[in-house]
């Protein structure tokens, strides 16, 4: 099962990177979101996948799922949310100011 999950994470990475390389701002944001999904899945998989054993102490099982990756992912989810929302507003602002969301046209000035 882990292999399947790693493959899935790789697919998320691949599509994320592909979106990241596009010109449009919206696609780039979608790309970053996909990459963070991929990363979360990746980390979870690294901690071994276990069904029916959440890391809560008095659950009555001795073999818990690994709590550490979960804690990391929890932090990461929140942060990637912050980044995504920031990028969205940035995209919105950029479009309002420059009337384009094409990154190839948003190159800044020469001799800045």
């Amino acid at each position: 099962m882990e292999i399947i999950m790693i493959v899935l994470a790789s697919i998320l990475f691949t599509t994320g990177v592909y979106n990241l390389l596009q010109k449009q701002f919206l696609r780039i944001i979608i790309g970053t979101a996909l990459i963070s999904h991929g990363a979360h899945l990746f980390i979870l998989t690294m901690g071994k996948l276990k069904r029916g054993a959440p890391p809560v102490e008095d659950y009555g099982v001795s073999n818990y799922a690994d709590p550490l990756p979960q804690a990391l992912i929890l932090t990461s989810i929140v942060i990637s949310f912050g980044v995504t929302s920031f990028l969205l507003v940035l995209a919105y602002r950029t479009y309002k100011l420059n009337n384009t969301d094409n990154m190839e046209k948003l190159r800044g000035l020469n001799n800045e």
Binding site: M1, E2, I4, M5, I6, L8, A9, S10, F13, T14, T15, V17, Y18, N19, L21, Q24, L26, R27, I28, I30, A33, L34, H37, L41, F42, L44, M46, K48, K50, R51, G52, A53, P54, P55, V56, E57, D58, Y64, D66, P67, L68, Q70, A71, I73, T75, I77, V78, I79, F81, G82, V83, S85, F86, V89, L90, Y92, R93, D101, M103, R107
Partner: protein, 778 residues
């Protein structure tokens, strides 16, 4: 001793605050006691019963780097020069710079320099020495560029920085090699292992690196070109850094390490040749200059070359003469720079063609200049110290031996001749400086200001230096026993006992050489008009400045071309470059280390629900890349997110699932809010090449992650630390849910920063929306 080194640095921090009240008191007065006290402190050590002292403070013990200050004769001589001339220069600058200048900057830089220069000469640890060494370059850069609104100041500052820092790097290379070879970071420790160093495989590199460091710092040919341009600095700085102290750091370095190299013929050859070429070339160049300070700069270069050559000779007599000349040069050249500054200050010009006949207006300055220039020229009078060391230079040039080989023998024959030629030009420019400025015709119309004598206190520092010239000249042996001998001992590594005598008799060859110099010099000076056109023609277009300018220009244009080639402003290109680098480097590392591990083990069973969810997610993810409609793309992205949440539920991560659900919902809502304002997705009208690269890079990245994932999953080298968290969740964290306890307790600080990140993002978003409103309000 530590306090002495760091006191100026501490004051450098305070100075900006002191300079606030500069309109009442000139900042210089407030800080004048610092170098004076340091000078008095070091003066205690002087005496015939001198003993070395040391003081150590640990700094980076793991790298064997300690602030190890060691005071021997050589360090003492330099420390006295640094603090003594430092005092005079500060006093002088009080009158040279008026209160409108940015005094805070000036004195801060100057005191940083003072600290670092003291550090250079007192450090026994090579890395500490190197650190201070770079600080002297830095403060010199800042001081040369002090009048930063002048184009030439900036040019000179940059030039000195580039050249001396180049040497600094090379010095670093040298000391690292020395440390590797000897296993110690102490200079004395290295000297004890001189044999090991000389026979080492890296010896040539060590020698060249150290020489390069010393030559750039001490402005030896062909690196001398930065020093004339450094004359754009205020004159107190030129007198202090660029004649008396900093430029002697290279000399110090060579003197310090000469016990290691003294037996090596190559050291003798390189140092003698470069020193003498510098002496002759720079003294010739000095004659050509029309700027007073420019002439003094070349004169400094040539004197440094002379000292360098004497260190290269390496005989006990030459070493003694070198050390003696370090002291003498500091006194007469310091006073000359100060007089040049006074002339500049009081007449508004430093151009020797415009000056003349100032004797009547500035009698005291003129008198001081007589002593300075005549001492520099080596005129045989018993109260001029320059003559003593000049004659000792000739004597040591005649008395060379101990080396064999045809090349060295012909070199030994040539040395006295070059020495005499160089000294003749020294004599000529000395006369030129004095008579050109103070005698001859007074050209009133040429001068911006009506000349008059400088204020008395401004004359005090050069006067004290001239008194030094005379006292050393009259009672050389007093200084000899108390100071010079100890320094020479430290350099030579053995007892050097010498008496300094004025009169060696008519038949002494050195005295005859002095007479030749004086006679030829007078002849050349009197007939100077005939030589003018020659001075103008040679060297003409041939000039090391051109080489330097060409190199700087080339470096700038080439790096500009390289940068613009990849810094196109296209984010896509940047991403491709970054990702390609990640892929190639990581894949390369895995290939080289043979890190693959595909032995699959300890897997969870494959069950249908998860496979179904995973397939849906995969299809959705691929769907985002081809979606034409923005709503569709966003909703498909939502599918991936919710799918992930379901996977979290399945794999025992309820907290994650909850968070993911909420966040995913909010994100989709946000997307939908924003997309309303954004244009629709366009069809990709990219070229095939573009698309192909994109696909290739993304697939490459995906495959890389796949390989890393599988390999990492199967390579477990250590026990997991998760058990610790599970076992202690309740005892230490007081909670049952391990994930929560980790977040708020075990790794609480991480969470705090996470909140800070969110806060930052929120601030940014707020600012961006708020800005729009303000603009709309206009």
């Amino acid at each position: 001793m530590v306090y002495a080194v760091f006191a100026p640095l501490i004051f450098a921090i305070i100075i900006p605050f002191l300079s606030r009240i500069k309109h009442k008191v000139h900042t210089g007065w407030l800080i004048l006691p610092v170098p004076l006290l340091i000078f008095i402190y070091f003066l205690q050590f002087v005496g015939s019963d001198f003993e070395t002292a040391r003081q150590t403070i640990d700094w980076i013990p793991s790298l064997n780097i300690a602030l190890d200050f060691y005071l021997d004769g050589l360090s003492l001589l330099f420390a006295l020069l640094i603090s003594g001339i430092g005092t005079l220069v500060v006093l002088y600058s009080i009158y040279y710079l008026n209160k409108e200048e940015q005094l805070g900057h000036f004195y801060t830089y100057l005191y940083i320099f003072m600290s670092s220069m003291l550090g250079v000469v007192l450090s026994d640890n090579v890395f500490v020495l190197y650190t201070f060494w770079e600080f002297t370059s830095l403060s010199s850069f800042l001081l040369i560029g002090y009048w930063h609104y002048r184009e030439k100041s900036r040019y000179g500052a940059l030039k000195s920085m580039l050249i001396t820092v180049l040497g600094g790097f090379s010095l670093l290379g040298g000391v690292i090699l020395l440390t590797i070879e000897t296993g110690t970071t102490s200079i004395r420790g290295m000297i004890e292992q001189a044999d090991l160093i000389v026979n080492s495989d890296y010896f040539l590199f060590i020698l060249i690196f150290l020489l390069l460091g010393a030559f750039t710092k001490s402005a030896q040919f062909p690196f001398h070109i930065w020093l004339p341009d450094a004359m754009e600095a205020p004159t107190p700085v030129s007198a202090y850094l660029h004649s008396a102290t900093m430029v002697k750091a290279g000399i110090y370095l060579m003197a310090r390490f000469s016990p290691i190299f003294s037996e090596v013929p190559l050291f003798f050859i390189i140092l003698s040749i470069f020193g003498l070429v510098t002496l002759a070339w720079a003294s010739y160049m000095a004659v050509r200059q029309t700027d007073l300070k420019g002439s003094l700069a070349f004169s400094t270069i040539s004197q440094l070359g002379m000292i360098m050559a004497m260190l290269g000779f390496g005989t006990s007599y030459a070493v003694f003469a070198a050390v003696f000349h370090i002291l003498n040069h500091a006194t007469f050249k310091g006073s000359l720079f100060m007089v040049a500054g006074i002339v500049d200050h009081e007449t508004g010009s430093r151009d020797i063609r415009k000056l003349g006949g100032l004797m009547t207006f500035m009698p005291i300055s003129a008198t001081l200049a007589i002593f300075g220039t005549f001492s520099m020229a080596g005129v045989p009078l018993p109260f001029l110290n320059g003559f003593y060391s000049k004659e000792m230079f000739f004597e040591s040039a005649l008395d060379l031996g101990g080396y064999s080989g045809a090349f060295i023998e012909s070199l030994i024959t040539a040395i006295p001749i070059i020495a005499v030629v160089g000294s003749i030009f020294t004599f000529v420019y000395s006369m030129y400086l004095f008579f050109g400025t103070f005698r001859g015709e007074y050209k009133e119309s040429e001068l911006p200001k009506k000349p008059h004598e400088a204020p008395f206190m401004m004359l005090v520092p050069p006067m004290l230096l001239v008194i030094g010239v005379m006292v050393i000249g009259l009672f050389p042996n007093m200084f000899n026993q108390a100071l010079i001998t100890h320094s020479a001992d430290a350099v030579y590594g053995d007892e050097v006992a010498k008496d300094i005598k004025f009169w060696h008799g008519w038949d002494s060859p050195a005295f005859q050489m002095s007479l030749i110099v004086v006679a030829a010099g007078i002849l050349l000076y009197l007939t100077k008009n005939k030589w003018h056109h020659i001075y103008r023609v040679i060297p003409g277009r041939f000039n090391f400045n051109r080489v330097y300018d060409w190199m700087v220009e080339k470096i700038e244009s080439v790096s500009n071309r390289i940068t613009t080639a990849y810094m196109t402003g296209s984010l896509r290109l940047y991403m491709i470059l970054i990702l390609t680098a990640i892929i190639t480097i990581t894949a390369g590392a895995i290939l080289i280390s043979d890190g693959f591990n595909f032995e699959v083990q300890d897997l969870a069973p494959i069950t249908a629900p998860e496979v179904i969810v995973a397939s849906i997610m995969a299809i959705a993810a691929i769907g985002t890349t081809v979606a034409r409609n923005r709503i569709a793309a966003i909703l498909i992205l939502g599918v991936v997110g919710y799918g992930l949440a379901i996977l979290f539920v399945m794999y025992s991560a309820p907290d994650l699932a909850l968070t993911q659900l909420i966040i995913e919902t909010v994100t989709v809502v946000l997307f939908l809010l924003c997309f309303y304002h954004l244009p629709n997705l366009t069809t990709n009208n990219n070229s095939i090449v573009h698309k192909g690269t994109n696909v290739l890079v993304s697939i490459g990245y995906g495959v890389l992650m796949l390989v890393i994932g599988v390999t990492a999953y199967n390579s477990r080298f250590a026990d997991t630390i998760s058990n610790f968290f599970m076992e202690n969740t309740y005892e230490l964290g007081g909670g049952h849910n391990a994930v929560n306890v980790i977040l708020v307790d075990f790794r609480g600080i991480d969470t705090l920063f996470e909140v800070a990140v969110l806060f930052g993002a929120a601030l940014g978003i707020f600012a961006m929306i708020k800005l729009r409103q303000d603009k709309g309000a206009k």
